[in-house]
Symmetry: C2
Subunit: 489 residues, 2 copies
Amino acid sequence: RQYQNIVHFFVEDWFLSAALGIITAILSIGVDVAIEYLLHLRLHMFDYLNEVSVYSGFCYWVLHIGVCVTFAALFCSLVSKQAVGSGIPEVKVIISGFVLKNYLSLKTLIAKVIGLVFTLGGGLPVGKEGPFVHMGAIVASLLTKATTACRYNQFFSNEGREMEMLSSGCAVGIACTFSAPAGGVLYGIESTSKYFAVKNYWRSFFATTCSALVFRFAMAAIVPPHIGGTITAYYQTSFPNEVFLVEEIPLFVLLGVMCGLAGALFILVHRKIAMFMRTNRLFLAVFGKSPVAFTALVACFVAVVTYPEGIGKYLAGKLTFRETLADFLANCSFTLSNETGHGCKPELIAHWTAEGTIHPLLTLTCYLLVYFFLVAQCISLHVPAGIFVPSFVMGACGGRIMGEALAMWFPEGIRGAGNPQIYPGLYAVVGAAAYTGAVTHSLSIAVIVCETTGQLCALLPVLIALMIANAICSFLQPSIYESIILLKN
Amino acid sequence: RQYQNIVHFFVEDWFLSAALGIITAILSIGVDVAIEYLLHLRLHMFDYLNEVSVYSGFCYWVLHIGVCVTFAALFCSLVSKQAVGSGIPEVKVIISGFVLKNYLSLKTLIAKVIGLVFTLGGGLPVGKEGPFVHMGAIVASLLTKATTACRYNQFFSNEGREMEMLSSGCAVGIACTFSAPAGGVLYGIESTSKYFAVKNYWRSFFATTCSALVFRFAMAAIVPPHIGGTITAYYQTSFPNEVFLVEEIPLFVLLGVMCGLAGALFILVHRKIAMFMRTNRLFLAVFGKSPVAFTALVACFVAVVTYPEGIGKYLAGKLTFRETLADFLANCSFTLSNETGHGCKPELIAHWTAEGTIHPLLTLTCYLLVYFFLVAQCISLHVPAGIFVPSFVMGACGGRIMGEALAMWFPEGIRGAGNPQIYPGLYAVVGAAAYTGAVTHSLSIAVIVCETTGQLCALLPVLIALMIANAICSFLQPSIYESIILLKN
């Protein structure tokens, strides 16, 4: 009995959590590497063909996105339809006690992995954290099933335990996307459970720590250095510790209000689009039986819009979300000249001025407006698609616009020369957190943002704006996940 | 009805949380300032009298500690005996549903504030976070009572709501001590509830954000700059982002194991001391009726031991916990010479070498051993006394010893010259987190440590060591708070 208890303790408490963290981390590294290779291929082939002839460059650009996304959609619809979409709404429903068939099977895992690689490798503007949460939950569920099949039967026939593993799985999924072990645990708790058993939350911590460890080892050993930096999804910022003045707090409040309103609008737009696709007779007559065809069409449309030599000029079309986000969070200004010492490097500014021909505020605004609708459309497509990362990027863009405008207005800082300047990057961080918090109705995003940027100095403005954005959006709309659950029921 | 709901929403949800955060923050700033003034007085009077004559210096040193602590003990025993001790065990008991009379009254609050100021202002090696948690809980309870007395009666007669406010109160208490809004919320959840209603945790966040805001404003406006830095209790570290190598992870595991064992030993020693004071006949015959007298005696003993010209030489006796902790976390080495570029400033090293006559490893070991027993004794005295900060300091000291030993062994870093060196300060951070986590059985300390040091690069080693220390100590002993609850029942 004593001996059995010890076995039980080690197997259930430690081994399962560790296995969950490690397997999900390895999956995550594999997916990241594959996506990076596909995106590298897109960029280099395009540059090469563009030099041969502009026409072949354009064709390749559209084809790459179209083919990749169509393949992802086809694969999902053939192997497992359950792999489509974010996955977080379904996991929420399962954890609240419903049984959704096939959502946690190995087949769905495979479809989700392959689908995600080709969707993101193609370059569709969607995220990967929702699918990762789903993958983490599947791995957790498969591990629980595997142990139930073992002979320690009496120990593992516990339904509560299974839900806990699912919650750990969500935590690990987020921790892998953002390399944020503590924030991942909080997000897992917040987005999945209503009441949480506190004495068990160390299991989630242990699982996320294991996965963070695997990441470190992988970075140190396996990953080739030229893409090493990209794998961590870790947007290290470099603000000083005294990054804001007390006078700027009302500005953060304002940013919070705007992010809250924009978040509510985004949820509304997404719902209108989804409703249109479900109820419009003409749409149903054309695409009703072939969601894959519609997905392919939208993918081509995205390709045309982002084509770097066309409209893409105004949208930094060549850049991936990861790269635009790094630009937004950079600790320098797009608009101030380099003579003040606060300007960005010319390469960076070139992304946002179409090589010096357009004002950065114009490109930023275009980027925000176009992606606002593009993302709302793309997350309703027939591919695995997360909402978190796109929200993060849009929020950062909005914050950056405000920060740049302020930096132009007060080039020497609010208190005048000699005092701290205005850091547009800080506004981007705050905007990203507030907008994402509004769209997903979560507060743990504050911790995730700090872990992702690797700095804590922004915590207070982030918390203020996040709290306000969250309150406003909760008042106006349900969270995007609840909205999707309502749509599907 | 609609109108009432809106009033209810604003009053209950927003106003109460904000009031809780702001009132506790103001209390906390007041207490901090008062303690700093008392400690400044002690240091300057001692230096002045020591120059007049060594004898009068010694007398003043002993008298200051003795008088302050005796006054605190007397005040507590006259005004409210419930103010004695940490307060966290009692709050735990109250939140789990028992009714402890007078523990949440205004009288207890006053006794706790005055008692804490004089205990810490005297220089007893105890902490302030336990008392702050208690204060936060009292403020929360008083606010709930005040609103119940208003005419919105039907809304506030909810017991669950009261427990939630108490939990927010605990969170705010921790957030004030460490200026750690996110970690405070987690610690409040972890240390008080078994099951947690997730949808309400934004209230705790809002309350801690308000208190962090008040802190910032106070720093920017009220507090004189010469003690401004000390009020934040914010130990900003300055490690580079790549602060450890993969090879060092086994060392962090080792540190975690040692901290876990030491934590269990500390809980055992504290229980033996407390049992001795409760059951030994001789002790009861002498001090049974006058705990104040015993407290005064121990205070004088502490004063003699820390007397800076005597044994205190080996213990950095002049420094307060705040200052020793800042030394331990400093990003430099006590043992390496300044020629390597890694050595500390001579003033700092002078603290730990008795002006160059003793090796720092010796003073650090003395400090650890003496305070290990001194703290276990002092937290059982008849004064408000926290356990968290002393544990933090002892853990940092233990980690620093390991780090310094490693830095002496590998002065050029583990991989040899040209590669990253060993950062003894990182080991101090890890040790502090692991030891405190072991003693209190909490994991949120990982987030608190990161917020307190203002850097996230240490998160992974902290999580590893903390998890291991926690597992070992949970296996061997109950947490210090549960141990106190068991003793009192």
